[in-house]
Symmetry: C2
């Protein structure tokens, strides 16, 4: 694979790989004023790298919000809208979202709604951001304990995925992103799955080819289904149950990472796949093994199940009260819109809780 992928898809451009930033100056200079959104971590570790790589780029302000999913809320939006107003950003300005999924989710939403829309560019700095959150135009904030309850589908001008930022990443973020990497393998990219199956993320030395493959997979899906009307739904594999677990823990004041939640969700939904989508016993076992090798099981109790179901019912993917899951037919192939009864969802959670292997 070449060290850099350049995709110019008209409305939106992607640049992925080493030195992606240096190759993207034309997007960053395409508007009259530039503002950079950071959190305290990306301000400290990534902003200096950004400035070093693009020494000549003038910008008009840095806006900082605190890191963490718990800050992806309406109060932080209000703060960013206020800062943009005070710094006299206009419709011809650009917001550069320098950070992980929280930064691109909230930054994209704020930019798209500021004065009915200013341009933004995502410069993801985490593994999760680089292969998932920054790509595909989903923006939004959590609201009333529901994830992404308020938001928009709206595309950035460009997504600049420079792997240099990963040098600064803590172990927990590598783990979190790894769940999504596994997901691409499972739903659409058997080659990728075979590169990952049975591996521990801590042992991986060559990340760049994996990231470029996964990011490209995501681009390939979302470019054909921006609004998640069809094929894009397969990206939700592991996320219907995963989101409910993530929210459940967040509500208890004990946040877990997105990857930990999705890893749990993928075990549950692989079980559903074996019941409803003909996924065979052997690959289901292989999936659980690879996930268990990288993620400890989340502590859940049978008495938590009703609350998890309630949270799932608030999921955006629920229509007219019915669960629709994306499930695996086999390794590297997912299907979407499989209707699942409450009872089977309960069984999937029980399967997870009792550490059962494929039966």
């Amino acid at each position: 694979m070449k060290p850099l992928i350049n995709l110019d898809l008209g409305e939106i451009s992607y640049c992925i790989g080493k030195e992606a930033l240096e190759s993207s100056e034309k997007y960053l200079t395409s508007r009259s004023k530039r503002y950079i959104l950071v959190d305290e971590n990306t301000e400290k570790y990534c902003l200096p790298v950004f400035k070093t790589k693009l020494p000549g780029l003038p910008y008009h302000g840095v806006i900082r919000i605190p890191s963490g999913e718990e800050n992806k809320n309406i109060d932080r939006c209000i703060y960013i809208w206020k800062k943009l107003t005070e710094m006299e950003a206009d419709r011809d300005s650009l917001l550069i979202n320098l950070g992980g999924g929280v930064i691109s989710d909230i930054g994209g939403f704020v930019a798209a709604t500021y004065k009915r829309g200013m341009a933004f560019i995502n410069v993801p700095t985490t593994l999760l951001g680089q292969i998932d959150a920054a790509i595909g135009g989903k923006t939004g904030i959590d609201f009333l304990n529901y994830k992404n309850q308020v938001g928009l589908f709206t595309d950035p001008l460009a997504v600049i995925i420079d792997t240099v930022f990963l040098d600064t990443l803590d172990d927990i973020f590598w783990q979190s992103g790894y769940a999504e990497l596994l997901k691409y393998g499972l739903i659409m990219d058997r080659d990728l799955w075979q590169m990952l199956s049975g591996k521990k993320y801590r042992k991986i030395k060559e990340w760049d080819p994996l990231i470029m493959k996964a990011a490209k997979d995501k681009v390939d899906i979302v470019r054909y289904d921006t609004q998640e009307k069809g094929i894009r739904k397969i990206l939700n594999f592991g996320h219907t149950i995963g989101h409910s677990i993530e929210t459940f823990y967040l509500n208890q004041g004990k946040p877990i990472t997105h990857g930990q939640a999705v890893a749990a969700g993928m075990i549950c939904e692989s079980f559903l796949s074996s019941q409803l989508a003909e996924l065979e016993c052997h690959p289901q076992g292989e999936i659980c093994d690879t996930i268990d090798l990288n993620f400890d099981r989340i502590e859940l109790d049978e008495k938590d199940i009703p609350e998890l179901l309630k949270l799932m019912k608030q999921d955006k993917k629920v229509r007219a009260g019915k669960f629709k899951f994306s499930l695996l037919r086999r390794l590297g192939k997912a299907i979407h819109d499989v209707e699942v009864d409450d009872e089977l969802v309960i069984k999937a959670l029980e399967f997870y809780i009792h550490q059962k292997k494929c039966s």
Copy 2:
């Protein structure tokens, strides 16, 4: 003119005239659940009419916010998002915005951002709503004393303009809408202008043909330029200065109507037109006379001018710090993106303040 205009433009449909509601049931029943957004006035006067005209239509909740531009704010958005969540609205639900410009502006914004987008239909109940605010996909809220500082371009599923609601309208709302009616005449519809020139709105008996003409004018503009990149900008005639006056008074706790502000703005911007766009003295006088016949001059002082300019600089239409106005070439013909210096804007305000006639 026929008693009803039906325009099906693919993504969006318009139904304008008497009995528009009865003709639009198919749009209102196209989603699984329906919620109606009202204020205390439309709940009292319009909701019963709505129910009487569509007796068989089931709906799943009414959400009420207080009337008035001062309630077009983020706190009310939060309230509506919360209510929708509590009433379990999903992406397949429909929000019906039953009210004037405030209701369609805030309701459209909230719907478009709820779970990354639920459908909405505008059922405007004021003259201003019917010929302007409900058409064209501009949604938003005021923020930090700036009008529509946060918002989106987003289209409703349909706009149902039933003139029956105007029977309930107070005089002040007739006057407010009349300013926009005059505007369509001035910028693009000389026939309409000739129907209005020299008339007092209180003396008009046949409103339906005027409303259908103006609403159709607006549809004709916005369908070709949704995002206000070009021709749509002519709709801003009177609004650059008008908005600043409206905000100025709102900030002082003495709100004036949108129409009063736009009427003042049109006098100022007709003056600019005479200076920069070859508008001749005679029509400029005719414009001022017709406006003065229907609107008292707003009290403004020369010492207020710096504050008005500051507010104008925050206008979304300002790019790179330069004023760009839409001005009149002649009656029924506007041009856009005319650059205007601060000094001439000051002169236009002085012209307004000192009640000068065309010189």
